[in-house]
Symmetry: none
Subunit: 401 residues, 2 copies
């Protein structure tokens, strides 16, 4: 839904909304006629909650589209993920918890191997170790450029983050990664005249990089992709009049939450810790995003049973959640990650929304097939979830007289 | 879904998608509490396939909108039928298998009757026979115009096709059909200065037509409608990275398929022939469109039992189809044609999509009412079907990181 429209009808209230995101929640049966991870898990508390909720299956982006974690979460927060796209550089920064400032220009880099003619032999430098990456990033930090601060940070394996900080920078620069071997890295080029200064700086950085790394084959050069700046989006507070907090352990999700102006709450490593953090902070915010990562990791590992276990672990915390008496509870995922596929997928994600005025449907258990006939339907657009939560929290005015 | 968006995430794969279009598939019960044609037909094979598929009812255009064959098919091929509209002239050309070239200007014509003051007495010339039409078209082919080639082709009854071929033509011309009797045919007029030359040519054509047909009342004049050019749309190959083939016997559907860059496979007249063609060509293409016409013809004739029989005939071929092990199978129609109404209708069309990773729902038989509770819902937008097929065929990248 259009944020400018929603903004015209939000109103303050004392109500609390809790969104539980079970990452990669949706799944598939392992064999024909079998059950999915969620259908297999024993979830008496989620089933009871579902029976008092309005249920359905939601699509973060669109039919058939497999969402990355960024788009998947943005949709749940009410931001259309095709309209609100994050650059690769910014995502990499979020992923390692780098605190981007407005005006910073960031790019994702790969260490790569070039030959004596500067042609790329390996775009990933033989996938060097994270430790090696850290050593080399330390060397690259010796590079100095006029008028700007440079940050070179290890992401993982062969991947790194470059950030330039200074006045008058622009991210309108094309990738230097030629995307195939046997070609030279592309010269940095501007997409717009405003990027001329930045292009000059990136060129100098790459020239010096080549010198610094000369003796460090296979990692003797760097390719840059996805030049981008921290987007200037409306915060949850501005867009929805919601004082919002994130309870999430992983940097990527904390970074996304911070982009939208959420407070980041300190929490422990277990699911139980996260619910404890929620209990302690309930009075201080209107909206809580609580993120459970283990389901997605298990799905990506193809570990059906572990994914089932993580779901059951979440189920055990539900009574603690309901006893806090929030006004609206949402349980869903940011996308499906079927253990069968070991990857994110396009399959719609089970969804329940509970409130005392939600108008419960006939769904009696929380699962992929059970939710098909729920009141939110089998293809609910995820970006409409937040407006529906606001409505259930009595935070939206009537539209029109 | 937006083709430009889909294009950014398609990827090649070795997978096969087969789309079976049972023309006018959807129906209505003949009496209260009765069954539709599809519900009446004995379809053990389609029912078994449905029980392993994700099912639903799809709408080719929008709620309450009755699609013509053009929009009905375009939607199934992933082209939004309101955005991708075909002119009447082009449709007529497709319908008779006329091979339009880029730049050709085409219009659909009616033979009509005019009086001595040139006022239209009958817009359809007493619905002359197709044979008479053929005779008169032969006469009109004697007309010559400077710098352009003219084609005059019989469509059926009083309907004909006019095509002008040459340099610098434009279809931005209004209809000459006044749409009511007692009025003179309208003068050809341009909607844009670029059509001035074409308007001049059409005027000359109509003046000569009046002379040529002077003694052939009731068919003593021609009215022209729907000036149009072959649209320059992205082909299935460009839009979806799909090497595509059509197995269809009727010119209209072959023409539509050719517009989208599909290869036209030679096939026989029976449904069995069409499936044999599919068997033989499976290795050569990624996407197959197999068209069954008999259901629509029976529906338009109001012949409930014949429509049931054609559906049962398709059902018999399903085991041959599944034994080919395509990756994705879709069975649906381009619109409903209830025998009760003897006409196309707006009713959503039963749909099943089978793949090993489709996440089957609880639908156990293929029919209008059974599909309502399917995982694709009761109002699935047909234009999203192709993206979903691509996803199931593992031909789409993840969106965003």
């Amino acid at each position: 839904m259009d944020l400018d429209f929603i903004k015209t009808i939000t109103k303050p209230a004392e109500t609390k909304i809790v969104l539980i995101v079970i990452d990669g929640l949706g799944g598939l049966p392992q064999e024909k006629d079998g059950f999915t991870e969620l259908e297999t898990a024993k979830t008496p508390n989620l089933d009871k909650l579902a029976s008092e909720s309005i249920c359905g299956l939601q699509q973060p982006v669109n039919t058939g589209i497999t969402p990355g974690s960024g788009p998947g979460h943005l949709a749940l927060f009410g931001y259309n993920p095709i309209k609100y796209q994050v650059g690769r550089g910014v995502l990499a920064a979020l992923g390692i918890g780098f605190d981007l400032k407005p005006g910073d220009v960031t790019a994702r880099g790969n260490f790569c191997t070039i030959d004596e003619n500067s042609k790329v032999l390996d775009r990933r430098a033989g996938r060097i170790s994270t430790e090696k990456n850290q050593e080399l990033c330390k060397l690259l930090r010796s590079i100095e450029l006029p008028d700007v601060e440079i940050f070179v940070e290890t992401v993982k394996d062969h991947r790194l983050l470059l950030v330039l900080r200074g006045e008058g920078l622009s991210a309108k620069i094309i990738d230097t990664d030629p995307q195939e071997i046997g070609k030279k890295p592309l010269e940095p080029k501007s997409l717009s005249s405003e990027a001329a200064k930045t292009v000059g700086l990136v060129k100098q950085f790459l020239e010096q990089t080549k010198d610094v790394l000369a003796d460090h084959s296979p990692a003797n050069m760097v390719l840059l992709r996805g030049f981008s700046e921290k987007p200037n989006w409306p915060t949850m507070d501005k867009a929805f009049d919601l004082k919002s907090a994130a309870i999430a352990a992983y940097p990527m999700y904390r970074g996304l939450a911070r982009l939208l102006g959420m407070d980041l709450l300190e929490t422990g490593k277990t699911i139980e810790d996260e619910f404890t953090t929620l209990e302690k902070s309930l009075d201080d915010f209107d909206f809580f995003f609580l993120h459970v990562k283990g389901t997605d990791s298990a799905g990506e590992d193809g570990d059906f049973d572990r994914k089932v276990n993580v779901i059951e672990e979440v189920d055990k915390e539900i009574p603690r959640l309901t006893s806090l008496n929030p006004d609206v509870i949402i349980v869903t995922g940011d996308h499906s990650t079927p253990s069968l596929m070991k990857f994110h997928s396009w399959h719609p994600v089970p969804l329940l929304l509970w409130s005392k005025i939600c108008r419960a449907d006939n769904v009696k258990s929380f699962g992929e097939r059970a939710c098909i006939t729920g009141g939110l339907g089998p293809r609910f657009p995820a970006e409409d979830l937040l407006p529906l939560a606001l409505a259930n929290a009595k935070r939206l005015e009537k539209f029109g007289a």
